[in-house]
C-alpha cells in the first residue's frame, strides 16, 4: 500500500472465480509459485470486500459499496462475518480506509517483485539457520576461556551475533513475509456490548431469589443465625495476623542490639585485631566485632578514625574515645548505606547514597543531607595488650529509623 499504483489495474487483472476465493485467501503460501498466487490471494480478499453488484468506478466510493449481501456470501471467513454486522453502520466513516485497503502492493501485480520478496524472506530464514549452526558450533568447539592477552575475547560476542542471526532472521523473515506476500487486507471487528441483555438479567435475578428460598434461610432463623456465626467469625481470623505488624509481638531486640559487647575486640575484615599503634594520624579502619561471624554482621560495621586529640571537639559522651581514636557505626541513619567516605582534613563523613554529611570531630552531627540524627558512636577503650575493645553495645539502635524507635530513651546500656 506504500507503493502508489493504479488500483483499477490491480483489481481487474486479479478477479478470480468465487470458488477460488476461499482457498486462495486462507492459504496463499501453499500455492506452488509465489508471484502469481499471492497476487491472486490478495485480489480475492479484496474482491470479497467489494460489492458484487454494480461495479464502483472511483476509489472514494468503494468502501460505501460494502453491503450485507457481500459478507453473507463469503462464507469461508467467519471473522469477516462477525465484523460484517457492524460494517454496515461504519461504512460511511470507513470510506477512506476502505479505499486504502484495496490499493495493491507492488508484489500484488508484479510477479518479479513478489519473487524478489520471496527470495528475501528465504534469505532471512537461511540466515537464521546459519545463525543456529554458528551458535552450536561456537558453543561446543570454540575456546571459551576469556583472557586479556591469551584467551578468546570473541567468544561471547560471537554467541551473541549468532543468536541475533538465529532469532532475528526468523523474526524479520516472518515480518517481511506477512507484509509483502500474505494477503493485504484490513477488517474492523466491533466489540459486542458488555452488558447482558435485559432478559438474561431478570432471569438471573429470579434464579437468585428462588435459590434463597430453597435454602430456607428466610424461614429458619436458627440456621440463619448459626451460619452467620460460623461463616462470619471467619472474618476474625486475619485480625491476630495484624498484630505481627504492631508493637506487641515485635522482637525489637533484633533492631536495637548489635553484636558489640563489653570487651569485644575490634577486628579488621581479615580477622586481625587493631592495635593502638597500628594507625597514623588521619587513618581510618573498617572494623567488626570479634565474635563468631562478626565480620558478616551487617548491623555491626564500624568505622574507626584516628585524628589529633585536640581536633576532636566533642563526642556523644565523655570517655567514649581513646586519644583521638573514635568509632562510629558505619550505617547511615537515613537509609542504611555504608558511610565510609572520610575526609581526613575536614573530618567529614559522607554517605554516598544521598550525600548525608556528618562531622566526625563533633560527635557525628549532621552537616548536610537527609539523615535524621548522628551516626551512633561506639564507646571504645584499650585492653591490656593495647588492642581496641568495645565498652559495650551502641546506646541506641543503628541505622535507619523504624516504627517503634524511641528517639528519647537510651536502651539500657550502663555507661
Amino acid at each position: 500500500m506504500s507503493t502508489p499504483m493504479d488500483p483499477q489495474g490491480g483489481r481487474t487483472g486479479g478477479a478470480p472465480t468465487p470458488g477460488a476465493q476461499s482457498t486462495g485467501g486462507q492459504t496463499p503460501t501453499n500455492e506452488p509459485i509465489g508471484g502469481q498466487s499471492s497476487f491472486d490471494a490478495a485480489g480475492s480478499v479484496r474482491d470479497r470486500l467489494r460489492s458484487p453488484g454494480p461495479q464502483s468506478s472511483g476509489g472514494d466510493t468503494r468502501g460505501s459499496a460494502i453491503n450485507e449481501g457481500d459478507f453473507e456470501q463469503s462464507d469461508s471467513r467467519a471473522d469477516l462475518h462477525e465484523g460484517g454486522r457492524d460494517e454496515r453502520q461504519l461504512s460511511a466513516s470507513r470510506t477512506p480506509e476502505a479505499a486504502e485497503i484495496q490499493e495493491p502492493r507492488t508484489e500484488d501485480i508484479d510477479p518479479a517483485a513478489a519473487k524478489a520478496a520471496e527470495r528475501l524472506v528465504s534469505a532471512l530464514f537461511v540466515m537464521s539457520f546459519l545463525g543456529v549452526v554458528g551458535f552450536i558450533v561456537t558453543y561446543i568447539f570454540a575456546p571459551f576461556q576469556y583472557g586479556v592477552e591469551d584467551g578468546n575475547q570473541a567468544y561471547t560476542p560471537l554467541l551473541g551475533i549468532f543468536m541475533m542471526m538465529a532469532l532475528g532472521g526468523v523474526g524479520a523473515g516472518a515480518v517481511v513475509w506477512a507484509k509483502r506476500l500474505m494477503p493485504d487486507e484490513e477488517a474492523v471487528q466491533e466489540r459486542h456490548p458488555f452488558g447482558s441483555d435485559p432478559d438474561e438479567r431478570s432471569a438471573t435475578g429470579q434464579a437468585l431469589k428462588e435459590g434463597l428460598g430453597q435454602t430456607q434461610l428466610p424461614r429458619r432463623s436458627l440456621l440463619r443465625n448459626t451460619v452467620l456465626l460460623g461463616a462470619g467469625s471467619l472474618a476474625l481470623l486475619p485480625v491476630p495476623l495484624l498484630f505481627s505488624f504492631g508493637p506487641f509481638q515485635h522482637k525489637e531486640r533484633v533492631l536495637r542490639e548489635t553484636s558489640w559487647r563489653q570487651g569485644v575486640r575490634l577486628i579488621r575484615q581479615n580477622g586481625t585485631p587493631v592495635n593502638r599503634d597500628d594507625m597514623q594520624l588521619g587513618g581510618i579502619e573498617s572494623v567488626f566485632p570479634d565474635v563468631p561471624r562478626g565480620t558478616k554482621a551487617a548491623d555491626s560495621a564500624v568505622l574507626l578514625i584516628r585524628m589529633r586529640p585536640e581536633e576532636l571537639r566533642s563526642e556523644q559522651a565523655e570517655g567514649w574515645s581513646v586519644d583521638g581514636y573514635i568509632a562510629y557505626s558505619a550505617i547511615c541513619t537515613h537509609l542504611g548505606c555504608p558511610v565510609k567516605l572520610y575526609e581526613q582534613q575536614t573530618h567529614h563523613l559522607l554517605c554516598p547514597c544521598h550525600q548525608s554529611t556528618f562531622a566526625a570531630d563533633r560527635g557525628c552531627e549532621v552537616l548536610f543531607g537527609p539523615a535524621a540524627r548522628p551516626l551512633p558512636q561506639l564507646a571504645i577503650s584499650v585492653d591490656d595488650e593495647g588492642y581496641f575493645v568495645a565498652q559495650g553495645d551502641f546506646d541506641q539502635p543503628v541505622g535507619p529509623s523504624y516504627w517503634e524507635r524511641n528517639p528519647t530513651s537510651s536502651y539500657g546500656r550502663d555507661v
Binding site: N275, D278, M279, G282, G283, S286, T346, H348
Partner: protein, 263 residues
Amino acid sequence: MRTSSGRLSRLIPYVVVLLGLTLVGGLYTAFLAPQSSATEAPDAGAQSMAVKAGRDLYLQGCSTCHGLNLEGGAGGPALQGVGASAVVFQVESGRMPLANAGPQADRKKPQYSVAEVDQLAAYIQANGGGPQLPSLDNAELTDGDLQEGGELFRTNCSSCHNFAGAGGALTYGKYAPRLEPASARVIYSAMQHGPEQMPRFSDGQLSEEEKKAVTYYVRYITRAAQPGGSDLGKFGPVPEGLVIWLVGIGALVIATLWIGNRA
C-alpha cells in the same frame, strides 16, 4: 674400598680451595669491612648531587608558596616532615605546582620529569625526613597478589574511589580522583601518606606487601580490557540505566514508529 678412597683423595684439592676462599672472605669481611662504606661513597655523592639539584628546582618552582626553607607561607603548607612520598604524589601526578586554588588540587600534565621529581624528593627528604617510598618502579610492578589486592581495595578504597577505580564525589566540591592515570608510585604514595582528604594507611594497617598488592590491583583493573564493550565510565548502574533508557529504549521507540509508519 680402594676406588672410593681414590675418589676421596681427588676431592681433597677442591675442599682445600673452598676452605681457603671461605677464610679469605671471612677475614676480608671482618677486618676490611669499613672499606665497604667507601664503595658506597659514589652513591652518597649522587644522593647529595640529587639533593643539590632538587634544592635548585625547589627554589625556582616551589619556594614562592612553600617558603625558602620549607617553612610554608600564605600560599602553601610547610613541607618539613612530609617526606619524599608526598613529593612523588604531588609532583609526579601534576598536582603541584598548583594552577589555581580550589577545593582540592586537580591532576594536570606533570611539569617535572621523573628524574626531577626524584631530585625534588631527595631535597625534601633531606630536610625534615618523612615517609619514603620503597623501591618501586612504575614499569616494574607487573606482578602481585590480585586477589588479596582486590579484597583490600574493596574494603579500604572502593567506598570513595569506586569499585573499578573510577573515582567519586566527596563533600563541598571535593572528590576522590579517578585512578586510571595514576602511576604505581603515585598510588602507593597516596596510601602511604594520605594526600589532602584521603585517609592514611600506615604500614601497621596495610603492610608494604599489601600496599603493593593494592597498587598492582588498581593498575590491573584500570587497564584491563573490557569484554562487554564500552564501560561507560565504570560508574555502575546510573549511566548504564541512562544509556539503556535514552539510547536503547529510544531506538526501540523510533523503530516502532518507523514500523508503524510503514504499515
